[in-house]
């Protein structure tokens, strides 16, 4: 690790400035929007600077204060792993605030705009605290603050029943995760005798705790089948909050997994389980996305998919540790970690784009949108870029991280170790996932932005204003920059990987990464030149506009376009075994049929077919057990006596040996 550039500006001072900025934002959030924005800008900017500094080689920041909370000294630490996630928070937290100024403005949402600003400041601060806490108790407190702040932001628009239901589900699921974390940290504190967190690799008996961490952080990250809260929360939250949830919040689940698999010993099966869950999340996440007709719900399922890709990288890194194969483990880990950033960038971009669409057209239903590119060219173009990036297409950033994961998998196959066949399977599934994601995003872009408008709302849509456009442009530039110059982000990944497993030593850059960046740049330039040239040639050759060719039919209407459901029909049929689509068909029967109709809906399979029945059983048992609460005092005395006798027997029997 290098030394700080100057004795004044260190990661520590920057983080204190960040804290002060966020405090200012919290105080001013209700009354003074401008001051609030300034506070957020200072807070996220300083946090981003601190994170970049640590990733660029400043010394790790480790700070203890004499001040105690809950009997524990405050202890903060910013190392490369924390910094990786903090940088993402800085970017999305700042840009989301700018976007919210217009998107969730006072005029449109007089009831909730103030609460939204306050909640945003609290959320950013809480996530930041989770990332720097080096004490189990404070980690838990910050985690709970982060969960509750997210809840209030998700339910900003709580006049709507859907929003309240989504918020409730989120709160319930999050608290199951918190409960697991409580158990995790409590057992950890009992076993180690302290709440302090740090590397405990030598204490082998702590390994089983990993399963608790996996349940808690897996729920947060939204990996399949623990993703039940994710689609409705992302769909019903305001879009800047969805961007934050998908771009940063669910990454905290990944942060937890990376953090504690690095600090604690893990069971032998950990790598296998995470890799398998990753593959399942990736394939089924995108399969469920294909079945959606709500724009934001579809994007939410893509979060499940991308979390899957990240988990594949981390899972194979764990396998590599278990098998002593540093060479491919490091590359897989670097790919997974880079995908954290990449998904944060392009998914925030897509959610902000979806927010602009919802803002303009007033609906999330894709079957009511269409032809928006004429009215919203900026949003359409930026969304298209995000779509290409999330489909893993070169020369954008999504491909760089998937390429690194592929390289790790291919090297694992060639090593011919025990993980080789699993790696081959994961590689094939990753390829299928990529093709499915491409299908899904062609569907989204085609149905929402191309063709003709399908509803009056879509006809009246207007382009988003400056303050909504600028954050999207910045995120898009981020996607392009990582795609064209992957070499620049490599040192950050290498430091994070080294912090995760110091035994692997420093991580040399794969020489091919430079070649990949150069080819990306060449492809980007050539594509731009070719498009411009072909456009010029077309104009010169003579360009006429005419009606779309519909087999000679001269009166095409908006209703005759291909719909989102039909587009994905073939693929959703392949996955019908898990999607369980509900179809309602009104067949045309008579010679001159009066009406015909077809409706298809993909349910939340895990929620409706697993969680709800299980919850029903629990409620039924509880209802039965309630009968003993009938209010007769004599019976209650009997319970008391029986209880005391039972305890007495227990003590007697237990004391014998």
């Amino acid at each position: 690790m290098g030394v700080p550039v100057s004795p004044v500006i260190t990661a520590g001072t920057l983080l204190f400035i960040a804290g002060a900025g966020l405090l200012l934002a919290m105080v001013s959030g209700r009354a003074a929007p401008r001051l609030w924005l300034m506070g957020i800008a200072v807070g996220t900017g300083a946090a981003l600077a601190a994170a970049v500094g640590v990733l660029a080689g400043w010394a790790d920041w480790d700070w203890r204060s004499g001040f105690e909370i809950g009997g524990e000294q405050l202890h903060f630490r910013l190392d490369a792993i924390s910094a990786l996630f903090l940088a993402l928070l800085g970017v999305v937290g700042g840009l989301g605030a700018v976007y919210a100024q217009e998107y969730w403005a006072e005029e449109r949402h007089p009831r909730s705009a103030r609460a939204g600003r306050l909640g945003w400041a609290v959320l950013v601060a809480a996530i930041g605290l989770v990332l720097v806490s080096a004490n189990g108790l404070h980690f838990l407190i910050a985690w709970e603050a982060f969960t509750v702040a997210s809840y209030f932001l998700i339910t900003l628009d709580r006049q709507r029943r859907d929003v309240r239901a989504a918020g409730w589900l989120y709160l319930g699921a999050s608290h199951v995760a918190t409960l697991c974390l409580f158990a995790f940290f409590a057992i950890l504190a009992v076993r180690t005798g302290s709440w302090e967190l740090g590397s405990m690799q030598e204490q082998e008996e702590l390994a089983p705790l990993f399963w608790l961490a996996l349940a808690a952080f897996g729920l947060k990250a939204g990996m399949f089948p623990l993703h039940i809260w994710l689609p409705s929360a992302h769909a019903n939250a305001p879009s800047h909050v969805s961007a934050m949830l998908s771009g940063v919040s669910i990454k905290l689940g990944i942060y937890g997994l990376v953090r504690f698999s690095g600090w604690l010993p893990v069971p032998a099966a950990a790598g296998w389980v995470i890799a398998l869950l990753g593959v399942i999340s990736a394939v089924l996440g995108v399969a469920f996305a294909l079945g959606q007709h709500d724009l934001k719900r579809l994007l939410a399922y893509h979060s499940v998919e991308n979390i899957g890709i990240i988990l594949i990288g981390i899972g194979f890194a764990l396998l590599a540790v278990a098998q002593g194969q540093a060479a491919w483990g490091r590359i897989a880990l670097a790919g997974g970690l880079l995908h954290v950033w990449n998904h944060g960038l392009f998914k925030s971009l897509l959610f902000l784009g979806a927010g602009s669409v919802v803002h303009a057209a007033g609906t999330r239903e894709m079957s009511r949108l269409g032809g928006l590119w004429t009215r919203m060219p900026w949003t359409a173009g930026l969304f298209a870029l995000g779509a290409a990036a999330i489909s893993g297409l070169p020369p954008l950033n999504g491909f760089v991280s998937e390429w690194l994961v592929y390289l790790g998998l291919f090297d694992a196959v060639e090593s011919r170790g025990t993980a080789a066949l699993a790696a081959a399977f994961a590689a094939v599934m990753l390829a299928a996932t990529g093709a499915l994601a491409l299908a899904c995003f062609i569907k989204v872009c085609g149905v929402v932005f191309l063709g003709t408008p399908r509803s009056a709302g879509a006809v009246r849509a207007l382009e988003a204003g400056q303050r909504m456009r600028v954050p999207m442009i910045v995120l898009a530039l981020g996607c392009v920059a990582i795609g064209l110059a992957p070499v620049l982000v490599w040192p950050a990944l290498a430091r994070a990987a080294a912090a995760w497993n110091p035994a692997w030593g420093s991580l040399g850059m794969p020489p091919a990464l430079g070649a990949l960046g150069r080819i990306h740049a060449a492809v980007a330039i050539l594509a731009a030149v070719a498009a411009a040239w072909l456009w010029a040639r077309t104009r010169r050759a003579g360009l006429r506009r005419g009606l779309t060719w519909d087999c000679g039919y001269a009166g095409p209407t908006a209703r005759m376009q291909y719909t989102a459901g039909s587009f994905a029909g073939t693929l959703t049929e392949w996955f019908a075994w898990i999607l369980r689509p509900q179809r309602h068909e009104l067949r045309a029967v008579a010679t001159f049929p009066e009406r015909a109709g077809f409706e298809e809906h993909t349910p939340e399979v895990v929620l409706e077919h697993v969680i709800q029945p299980a919850g029903g059983v629990v409620l039924q048992v509880a209802n039965t057990a309630r009968r003993i609460h009938h209010g007769r005092v004599q019976a209650y005395l009997l319970y008391l006596v029986a209880g005391v006798v039972g305890l007495g027997l227990l003590v007697l029997l237990g004391a014998r040996p």
Binding site: G371, T374, P377, A380, A384, A388, L393, P394, F399, W403, Y406, L407, F410, V413, R416, A424, A427, L430, A431, A432, A435, L436, L438, A439, I442, K443, C445, G446, L450, G451, P510, P511, A512, A515, L516, I519, V523, A527, A530, A531, L534, W535, R537, T538, A541, G542, L543, R544, R545, G546, T548, W549, Q561, Y562, S566, F567, A568, T570, L571, W574
Partner: protein
């Protein structure tokens, strides 16, 4: 400088030779049917004519309608440059270039289907939906084939992967890749490049609304993709690295010719499958590649 010259030479070669293949296929089909058929160079004439024609564009189409084909063409050319040409090796060989090749093909697919969705026509929507749906299986098969080659050669760089033959699984791999070639290039039995009934097709229906120079670019790109797959298939099966440069060149030309004639023969002797059976056939292609992978796993250099 010499690298740049090398790349320019390859570029010229790929661009000039690509339109030959559809001509050969049409010749084979004509020969089997007992017709005289169009000249072998017909596509060259078509392209030069289309390049000079004016364009009619749908009123709904955005600039992406023209940019799509251009970007797709660049992606296909990029993929072709990555592919080594027999004894001359790869132009830009690096570790992991094979994955870039697969994803450049995906870029081309994204752009083509995007342009198809521009027109708001149900027919073009159908074509695009079929294209992206079947691609899921072809991409899985392609990656499996690449895994087999990678296991066989112990490398993830195209020039080493394609230098050796595919070993014991070569026949399986050839069959699998041939099916992938037919599907990716929309040939019979997956698609019929000849019909002009909009309902029955994948590729042709996506480009219904294109005309003039953009259509020329699309047709040239399709020819390029066919040549790319033919070269990939030939080099995967033939042990290029073990032959003398002259023999390797001759073998490559012969193999590409054989593949092209094979496509023509399939097209003459088979009818297009019902769309329901296409996934089945593609699954078989995937399984063939998978067995090639397992054979390579068992028999390769341990």
């Amino acid at each position: 400088m010499s690298t740049l010259l090398d790349i320019l030479l390859r570029l010229t070669l790929w661009i000039l030779l690509a339109p030959l293949l559809p001509g050969i296929i049409n010749q084979v089909k004509a020969w089997v049917a007992g017709r005289r058929g169009p000249p072998v160079l017909q596509l060259y004439y078509d392209l030069s004519r289309l390049w000079r024609k004016s364009v009619v564009m749908s009123t709904l189409a955005s600039p992406g309608f023209v940019a799509g084909p251009a970007v797709a063409w660049v992606a296909l050319v990029g993929a072709a440059i990555l592919l080594p040409i027999g004894p001359f090796g790869g132009g830009l060989s690096f570790k992991g270039d094979v994955i870039l090749l697969v994803y450049l093909l995906a870029v081309a697919r994204f752009c083509t289907t995007w342009a198809a969705m521009e027109t708001g026509s149900a027919f073009e929507g159908m074509g695009a939906a079929r294209e992206v749906s079947y691609a899921v299986l072809t991409e899985a098969a392609l990656i499996t084939a690449i895994l087999a080659l990678s296991v066989e050669s112990g490398s993830v760089a195209l020039d080493r992967m394609l230098a050796l033959s595919a070993g014991t699984g070569a026949v399986l791999l050839a069959a699998g890749l041939f099916a992938v070639l037919l599907a990716e290039n929309c040939r019979v039995p997956f698609d019929d490049p000849n019909t002009h009934l909009e309902l029955t097709m994948i590729h042709e229906v996506m480009v219904l609304d294109h005309s003039g120079p953009p259509l020329a670019v699309i047709l040239h790109g399709a020819a390029l993709k066919l040549l790319l797959f033919a070269v990939l298939l030939s080099e995967a099966v033939l042990p290029m690295g073990r032959m003398s440069p002259l023999a390797a060149t001759a073998a490559l030309v012969g193999a590409v010719g054989a593949v092209t004639i094979g496509v023509g023969l399939v097209e003459s002797l088979l009818a297009r499958f019902a769309f329901r059976r296409v996934p089945l056939l593609l699954t078989i292609a995937f399984l063939l590649c998978l067995f090639a992978l397992l054979l390579a796993w068992k028999g390769g250099p341990a």
